[in-house]
């Protein structure tokens, strides 16, 4: 399948990626990723530094800001190979979110100060959008900033802040004008995690990890030069961001990686030839093929100049459904071998992380706009309902 979709010139590109990964990825990191185990800060940063040295760390960035100058097709290929070869999935808050926003809306000074440090890993960014009681409904957020001399004083609580424990910067949406309607009067601010008044509480998830956090802001001072673009326009910037780089949203590499792991798992459990398991693996393989060919079809249309809109939501919906179906099939394959707690020392590879991944990946249909919201977006923006 993959080969079907790749031109000879792309095949050479694919080989280059593979060679690089083979020589640069630490075996222990690869093992953790291949089992779906949690990663530490250094696991990410070591890999990031290798990519940075090669000039590959920010595939979608223009060359002027330090990107590799890849085409959309090459980005998809790289994305797939990185997943398939079990490289750490670098969190996108710097590369895919605040970086592109600063390129488009930031001042030259902000760009010069922050962009290089995103690439090098000196800065780790986290995202302060969600609040308790305002998950997918961002417009109802309640964190407030009031004008003070030379800047703003911010009060409020942010939640679901992924990897805030590793971050030294956070970009936040805050309400700067309480008088206007919900989506207006919101600004985007860049906040140093070391600011006085900023504290963090880890949120323990049911899978045992502490990936996400609550961030409390009490009279946190934000100088004027750390407001992005214009005051009260933050919602516009956030929306532009959400439309960025949507073609990779189907997570084809992630799905293929897990499908391959399930094959190994079926063999290890002695059920490699079980017709029911084989049938489900094939069905999910076909589902992946449908998302992959849809991605390539939309990519081709985009290369011909068609402006892609909300139809890419379908890639998010189907991609995450496939990934969750895979974690559920893993449960079926592992059966009672999945029972020991991940930290009990009694679990056996490749089954030890099956429950962890099933629980952890429930998030896929919740975050980034829940799948229900994606369906509503499709209905409204594409179907005109």
């Amino acid at each position: 399948m993959t080969d079907l979709l790749v031109a000879p010139e792309d095949m050479a590109f694919r080989e280059e990626i593979r060679d690089f990964v083979a020589t640069h990825l630490e075996p222990e990191t690869r093992r953790k990723v291949s089992l779906g185990m949690p990663l530490q800060r250094e696991d990410f940063l070591t890999w990031q530094r290798s990519l940075h040295a090669k000039g590959w760390v920010a595939p979608a960035w223009p060359a002027e800001h330090g990107g590799p100058g890849w085409t959309a097709r090459q980005r998809l290929i790289a994305d797939e190979e990185f997943f398939r070869l079990h490289t750490p999935p670098l969190p996108g808050f710097g590369f895919k979110m605040i970086g592109p926003i600063l390129m488009r809306f930031g001042t030259p000074a902000q760009q010069a100060r922050f962009l290089p440090r995103i690439l090098s890993g000196e800065d780790w960014w986290c995202q302060g959008f969600s609040e308790p009681g305002a998950g997918s409904d961002l417009a109802s957020l309640r964190t407030r900033a009031v004008r003070v001399d030379g800047g703003w004083k911010v009060n409020g609580t942010k939640t679901w802040t992924t990897y805030a424990q590793y971050a030294n910067w956070i970009f936040c949406l805050v309400r700067t004008d309480p008088e206007v309607k919900k989506q207006r009067g919101i600004s985007m601010m860049l906040i140093d995690m070391a600011s006085p008044g900023l504290t963090r509480r880890p949120i323990r998830l049911m899978d045992g990890t502490e990936e996400v956090n609550e961030i409390f802001l009490e009279d946190v001072f934000v100088p004027d030069d750390l407001v992005v673009g214009e005051v009260n326009q933050g919602w516009t910037y956030a929306k532009a961001l959400l439309e960025h780089e949507r073609l990779g949203i189907g997570g084809i590499g992630r799905s293929k990686h897990l499908l391959g792991r399930l094959e190994e798992m079926a063999t290890a459990s002695g059920r490699g030839d079980d017709p029911t398991i084989r049938k489900r693996l094939t069905e999910i393989g076909i589902d992946i093929m449908a998302v992959e060919s849809t991605t390539m079809r939309l990519l081709a249309a985009s290369e011909r100049g068609t402006q892609l809109g909300a139809e890419t939501s379908l890639l998010k919906i189907r991609g995450t459904e496939i990934q969750q179906a895979l974690t559920e099939l893993a449960l079926e394959i592992a059966g009672a071998d999945a029972l020991p707690d991940r930290e009990s020392g009694q679990g056996q590879a490749p089954f030890e992380a099956v429950v962890f991944q099933f629980l952890n990946w429930r998030k896929l249909s919740i975050y980034g706009g829940s799948n229900e919201i994606q369906r509503s977006i499709l209905a409204r923006q594409v179907l005109g309902l």
């Binding site: 079990h86 391959g260 076909i286 093929m289 390539m296 011909r304 509503s376």
Partner: protein, 375 residues
């Protein structure tokens, strides 16, 4: 290499012509009048379809065709499927003529196909056995002529055929017999969607040496795959038409004081219907591009995977199209019911989903490759 290129100008032109033709000639009333005729009546618009170039479109230029690529034939076939035509374009052209074009030298094929491409004849292919390479018909050589035996119980489009081409076992090889319809026992009947078919009984039919043409596996595979692609394209056209018709309906139809499309559960189901369409479109395009761009085994896998998607998504779309139309979706009075039957017919014609699933199975996801790298 699959590129998902846009259809050619020529393909889009054919498509536009077809849409106008359908609008003019295939309203439900006109179609009902056609359905009231016996199954073996000559179909209404065969000659016009030839004049419009539809019959020649998918065949190589050397055989008298227009030489459109499989990808470029899709738009036309989608319109003909959604248009619920009763003429046997897919079985006669994509099934029969494409097989002849693949099996015979171009000049011979051109001669033999000329009358059909001119709209003067209908010719169909009887394969009929348990598998393509185990045909239902057998030929034996006795005292200077071939005698055929065997029966093809389901020759789609064959009710009004002038010529039936029989794929036959000739000793240990395959052969293609060109048999006039009046030489066989042919019983025409309708399928549940209104299209016609025939049972063809070859028992005791005698053929001369010059009715036998050589045939090999490759030609048979090509013809089979073109016929499959035709059904996939028709089904895609129907799925999209059902989606659009249903979308229009939920915007108009009011219940409890507002359009039913304003209800969230309807919106989410329509979003799923949209996704089902888009997936089938991607897969059918992939299947078409694979025809000239992929090795045989990969092509077979992609085709099987596409068929499975068609079965799953097609069934979901037709279920929801009826359900969202409510009682109106059950009637013969809206187009939706007719489209549902045609789509269902296409799905059923493929036989067991399980067999397609098995054919789609091997290493779709390059896991062995990944393992090799992993090691």
């Amino acid at each position: 290499m699959i590129r998902f290129d846009a259809p050619s100008e020529e393909a889009l032109l054919l498509k536009d012509t077809a849409m106008r033709f359908i609008a003019d000639n295939y309203g439900l009333e006109k179609r009902a009048a056609m359905l009231a005729k016996p199954a073996d009546a000559v179909p209404a618009h065969w000659t016009e379809m030839a004049e419009l170039g539809w019959l020649a479109a998918p065949l190589p230029e050397a055989c008298g065709g227009l030489g459109l690529s499989p990808t470029d034939v899709l738009p036309l076939l989608e319109v003909l499927g959604a248009g619920l035509i009763l003429e046997p374009v897919s079985p006669a052209i994509l099934g029969c003529a494409a097989t002849i074009a693949a099996a015979l030298p171009a000049e011979t094929a051109a001669d033999l196909l000329e009358a059909m491409l001119a709209g003067e004849r209908i010719e169909v292919l009887a394969t009929g056995g348990a598998s393509a390479t185990a045909p239902a018909v057998t030929a034996t050589w006795t005292s200077g002529s071939w005698t055929l035996s065997g029966k093809a119980p389901m020759v789609v489009g064959g009710a009004a055929a002038d010529i039936v081409w029989a794929v036959a076992r000739v000793d240990d090889a395959l052969g293609l017999f060109r048999v006039p319809a009046d030489a066989v026992a042919l019983t025409g009947f309708r399928l549940f969607d209104g299209q016609t078919a025939a049972t063809v009984d070859f028992d005791g039919v005698s053929c001369t040496e010059d009715q036998l043409f050589p045939m090999d596996d490759t030609a048979l595979v090509r013809g089979t795959e073109m016929a499959l692609l035709a059904r996939l394209a028709e089904a895609l056209g129907l799925i999209e038409a059902l989606y659009r018709t249903t979308l229009d309906y939920v915007k108009l139809r009011e219940q409890f004081g507002r359009p039913i499309g304003a209800f969230q559960s309807v919106q989410h189901r329509m979003a799923d219907m949209f996704i089902h369409c888009e997936e089938v479109r991607s897969m059918v395009q992939l299947a078409a591009e694979a025809m000239d761009g992929a090795p045989a085994d990969l092509r077979r896998q992609v085709h099987a995977a596409t068929w499975v998607k068609l079965v799953d998504n097609g069934r979901a779309v037709l279920r929801d199209a009826v359900q969202l139309h409510g009682g109106m979706g059950m009637t013969d009075e809206l187009i939706v019911g007719h489209m549902v039957k045609r789509l269902l017919m296409l799905i059923q014609s493929g036989g067991s989903r399980e067999d397609w699933l098995s054919a789609a199975a091997p290493s779709l996801h390059n896991s062995r490759e990944a393992e090799a790298l992993h090691a």
